[in-house]
Amino acid sequence: MEIKWKVKDPILIMKVIGEIDLTTASRLKSEIDEMLNAHPQSNILLVLLDMVSFIDSSGLGAILGAYKRLEEDSSKIFLVAPKNPVRHVLDISGVSKLVTIFDTMEEALSKTREGLL
């Protein structure tokens, strides 16, 4: 799994590439924690999932951990462009009801910036 970051204050964009399971979920979680600590002024995290080919409950746990942390700080996490089978797993677990999912990054940036105005 590879993670790439872009900072567009106050928006953090995390692009994840590869598979998210028990082996990689802890690194995902720790990278999110590190970035949130390093950018306390950021209040939106966009997680781009279009290059994620697999996710299971370990990966969902890492995403929900970030969701809880951001909620506590009155910040938001959004998921962007998950493809099947990832989308299917998000739906069946109920995560897609909890966390807003955008189909494209353009839509995500547009909607989140609208919300910031």
């Binding site: 409950s57 370990s58 969902l60 797993v89």
Partner: protein, 146 residues
Amino acid sequence: MKKENYVKLEFESISENISFARVVAASFVSQLDFTLPDIEEIKVAVSEAVTNVVLHAYEDNGPVFMEMKLVDEDKKLIDIIIYDKGRGIPDINKAREASYTTIEGRMGFGFVFMESFSDTLEVSSTPGEGTLIHMTKTPDLAGEGD
């Protein structure tokens, strides 16, 4: 044409072998007419079963056993058994409940996904002796002929 096939594997209960197990499963079950979404569901189910062994079965590490059998006759079927010789599950019904977990920070969705992504799921466990997960899945033939 009647066809049967099987594989038996043993590997160490370390997290690196979770992806190994699901890739092997995906490769094996692709011998039947599963759709890609079906195969992805099998990969998740296998990933959850092996993850449970890695996280819960042994104090340190131990063996994971994985057996798969496919039947390609009038009834097509994939049969997957994953078992360990670890500490076992004291209360299977409790363990199968959604959101139940003994490890902080985890979702407790492992069994929910196994159940959702297979046609049948049986769990048997004896404390001190180990746990066995038995899943079956049949290709969805509803779309055949389209």
